[in-house]
């Protein structure tokens, strides 16, 4: 198929996802306020008992950026299930577009949603005194982008296999909470018990959080590029499985 058709198809699906995103303001508002609640309430409370060698709330801010990406990216896959329910997916699958094109269009839509939410949170971060600079802002955005690509794909994979929103909720929770809780978003990973530490090594979000913390706060376990490399590796695997899942998806 011609490149123009493919790009137009991706634009078509992005156009739709973006329109839906614009109209569902409650989702945008809740996705921004949830991390803020965590920041002030959880951060305030834990900050009084935990010593991370600095302001605890600054320590967890990169974690909340990752949290926004994790939750909104994975949740995005629920739209595939919803599209099956309202029969909208039929309209898309009957078009001449290939399943792979449809996957990329949907992924781009989800990516836009997630990144916009994270960007709004970053702007709020400036007012909270997070030390953003002209150097670390691009590094932060690149890392968030890389994390979102893989997680949006994961959400779409789950969506492709699930038939009910309840099923999607259940399965995605099993993925979202370990990803989030083992990412080091809320606490340093250095002193965890060995079995947990092993699990954090297979959590792509942990590398993203480490990279973000390194970029924004200057403290990290691994160099930025090493972290980014791992996340990009995760992206490639997730995209490959995602395109495959869409190609075998049944109505």
């Amino acid at each position: 198929m011609k490149l123009r058709k493919i790009l137009k198809g991706i634009y078509a699906l992005w156009y739709r996802e973006f329109k839906v995103f614009q109209r569902e303001r409650s989702r945008i508002i809740s996705s921004i306020f949830m991390p803020l609640f965590w920041y002030f309430i959880f951060g305030g409370a834990m900050g009084s008992v935990v010593n991370v060698g600095g302001d605890y709330r600054h320590f967890i801010f990169p974690g909340f950026l990752a949290m926004t990406i994790i939750f909104s990216s994975m949740f995005n896959g629920a739209y595939v299930v919803w599209d099956k329910k309202i029969d909208f997916l039929k309209e898309v699958l009957i078009s001449p577009l290939s399943r792979t094109t449809i996957f990329f269009g949907k992924a781009l839509g989800g990516l836009t949603d997630s990144l916009l939410q994270a960007l709004i949170l970053m702007i709020i971060g400036i007012f909270l005194g997070i030390p953003f600079t002209l150097v670390n802002v691009p590094l932060t955005i690149i890392m968030l982008f890389a994390l979102a690509v893989g997680l949006v794909s994961m959400g779409l994979i789950i969506g492709a296999f699930m038939e009910s929103p309840e099923g999607f909720g259940l399965v995605s929770s099993f993925a979202v909470y370990p990803l989030f809780l083992l990412s080091g978003a809320l606490y340093p990973l250095d002193n965890l018990p060995t079995w947990m530490k092993i699990l954090t090594h297979v959590d792509p979000a942990a590398y993203a959080v480490d990279g973000l913390r390194g970029a924004i706060l200057g403290t990290s376990a691994m160099p930025y590029l090493a972290n980014l490399g791992v996340v990009v590796g995760f992206d490639i695997v997730a995209i490959t499985i995602g395109a495959w899942a869409f190609n075998r998806m049944k109505l």
């Binding site: 137009k8 839906v20 109209r23 039929k90 699958l93 078009s95």
Partner: protein
């Protein structure tokens, strides 16, 4: 040239045969009707022809392309108006159509003009910017019909396109659909429950029951197959036995106080029938319509099914409203 050729097309779901080795072909520019009770296999057939379902066995060629080997080319040749609403109700009518135009590679510069044109045809031009959620069921249907026409497909599938529409809109839409087939050489495959519509519009009709094609011909010839006119006699002392063995009576069906006879040359033989019947409370003679044809081939009154479909559709609407 044939627009569609189907050979031994079969679909099984977990051992259940939904479509059982059907064969037919549709000529270019033809309006082809698929009639059958619910669950007969009409929608499954359309799903296979549009590549949304893979056949278990057999072959289907659509616009010269095999549905299994070249699904993308097949999808590029067809348009579909689904039985259930398949638009996004968070988007406006215009946005749903724009999305469709982009997916089908309509040139960017033409998109807005084409959307105006098709929305005008279904009388929805002034409502195109409203969010679909605020459309009535009929408006949503009209918008989806407009969407199916937007990219000028060579073959258009319409699954119960006018179900739930008021008679004026139905007539309006059928008028347009007919002009598409005749004027632009578009081939139309239609499933419908409205017998009068099928009879009036379709060049040929296939009656499908239990996954098999039980009859396929022009509406006139299908009627002719019954072998005569239908004579309904109602009276207290009717005896079906007396009519047996008469050369001009093709079939007899008896139900409480009413006999239904299929009679050749009814005008000529009516006096004889009345003589045998004796005193009557009611007499009716009419040439068979599609309903009678349908009943003859499937043993089912199509009207019975209609309610189910409407209820099913209402459920779909409710589901999308509880979003």
């Amino acid at each position: 040239m044939e627009a569609i050729q189907i050979k031994d097309l079969t679909k099984q779901f977990d051992g259940l045969i939904a479509v059982d080795g059907i064969n037919f072909s549709v000529r270019k520019g033809e309006i082809f009707g698929l009639l059958g009770p619910n669950g007969a296999g009409k929608t499954t057939t359309l799903m296979m022809l549009s590549t949304l379902l893979k056949p278990t066995s057999g072959q289907a060629i659509v616009n010269g392309f095999d549905v299994v080997k070249h699904p993308s080319e097949v999808r590029g040749s067809i348009g579909m108006v689904f039985q259930d609403p398949s638009s996004d109700d968070v988007l406006s009518g215009y946005e749903n159509l724009k999305l469709h135009a982009l997916m089908y590679d309509v040139p960017m510069a033409d998109i807005d003009a084409k959307i105006d044109h098709v929305m005008d045809l279904v009388g929805m031009k002034d409502r195109k910017d409203d969010v679909v959620k605020h459309y009535s069921g009929g408006m949503r249907r009209r918008m989806e019909i407009a969407r199916g026409l937007l990219h000028h497909p060579q073959i258009l599938f319409l699954d119960e396109p006018t179900l739930g529409l008021d008679p004026q809109t139905r007539e309006h839409i059928w008028g347009y659909i007919e002009s598409l087939a005749k004027g632009q050489g578009m081939t139309l495959i239609v499933t419908t429950h409205y017998m009068e519509e099928a009879e009036k519009l379709c060049d040929r009709i296939a009656i499908i029951d239990h996954g098999k094609i039980v009859a396929l011909d022009t509406p006139e010839r299908l009627r002719h197959h019954l072998g005569g006119d239908l004579v309904f006699l109602t009276g207290k002392h009717l005896d079906a036995e007396k009519f047996k063995g008469l050369s001009f009576v093709q079939s007899i069906e008896a139900s409480n106080h009413t006999l239904k006879l299929c009679v050749t040359d009814s005008v000529k033989h009516l006096p004889k029938i009345l003589e045998i019947a004796g005193p009557l409370e009611h007499l009716e003679v009419h040439p068979p319509n599609m309903n009678d044809v349908f009943l003859h081939y499937t043993g089912t009154e199509i009207r019975e099914d209609e309610g189910d479909v409407v209820i099913q559709r209402l459920r779909t609407y409710t589901r999308s409203k509880t979003k």
